[in-house]
Subunit: 248 residues, 2 copies
Amino acid sequence: MIQRAFQVVARCGQQGALLRAPCILPRLNPASAFGSSTDSLVSRFCPETTDLKDYALPNASWCPDMLSLYQEYLEKTKSDGWIKLPSFKSNREHIQGLQLPSGLAVASDKDDCRIFTRCIQVEGRGYEYVIFFHPSKKKSVCLFQPGPYLEGPPGFAHGGSLAAMMDETFSKTAYLAGEGLLTLSLNIRFKNLIPVGSLAVLNVDVEKIEDQKLYISCVTQSRDEQTVYAKSSGIFLQLQLEKESSQQ
Amino acid sequence: MIQRAFQVVARCGQQGALLRAPCILPRLNPASAFGSSTDSLVSRFCPETTDLKDYALPNASWCPDMLSLYQEYLEKTKSDGWIKLPSFKSNREHIQGLQLPSGLAVASDKDDCRIFTRCIQVEGRGYEYVIFFHPSKKKSVCLFQPGPYLEGPPGFAHGGSLAAMMDETFSKTAYLAGEGLLTLSLNIRFKNLIPVGSLAVLNVDVEKIEDQKLYISCVTQSRDEQTVYAKSSGIFLQLQLEKESSQQ
């Protein structure tokens, strides 16, 4: 344990930016799978069979643009290397078999938790989204349809709902592309308001991985690419994962 | 109408930053109350009597820290110039009597809309928050307690939920301090994770108002100020409001 703690301190000391990084830094496990390949991360993240409900599937609330672009990317999963990410009610489900570093786990009622972007379960009212990821290109595309419970200005999505959608898409991308676990920064320039009920497409790229940090950029726009809703970037910190559990 | 449109274009042309600003810029009303005093904005924003439910009131889910700091600021509303802002289900209620510029209003079902930060109505599960505003200091304080439906890493608030809380607090502050209506940018540096169910305090300052833009900064920390959760800044665009309606 002392050795692990020392490694954390040493790691922080090596990087100025991390001196002010999260204090709740988990204890690192020297025997963990740090440096896991993207393929192995993806295969554990996307179980072939599961009883968990996948919320990233079409429902009656999806607008025609969202449905057709979903079908388009689904086709690309068959031949073009894209992967459709499942989306469960909680991150606790996503990390089954992966186990977050122990410092990130606290005791709380597992049954009553929801990942923020699945907080509203009535179809079409809150977040409707699906993320596709391309392992070798280190790109993601998120199809996002904000519902009327995500309102800011009347008739338009709250800027914060888009910020959260970005953070969530960045998080999953950073995790799969390089074990990025913690958001260090998020910068957003808003260009246009997204009408409630319409489709916004987040095009996400991992720009580089350097000094244990992933640099991610995103352009959010309408399907026809004629309207840019926002441009954003984020930096994520790589953290070692605990050993794979025996559950899978 | 042509004159109004011209004014918008001219305004954009004057400011480089606005050349890439929202295309859904509303038509400006030359006869509007642009330049309203903070006092008049606050008095219209905080009706003395209303039938609308105010969600920014204590309930059984509030943790002791949240309750006691709420009481502390409530005392300051009596003698120190602070104002407790009401928080209704939708921004449509907030702007009664103010009317957003016409370009920002679209036809949609009024009865089925919620402001994003009040999207979850079960007490304690989603956003619990209350904002206090000081007109002459141009400061705000938001007491924020994230519930288990706002989860990111197990046991901690999603970074996006804090981003949205910032954007919402910034929005209300920008509006009351100087008719700031649209978020142009939001920059966040995350320092520590916020445990679900605990209190985070957002300390918000309007740094300056220049070239029709409000520059806002925020430090989010624990009540004892020993843990900084995030530092952030935002820029908001001032927009002319339509004339006050006769409803109030």
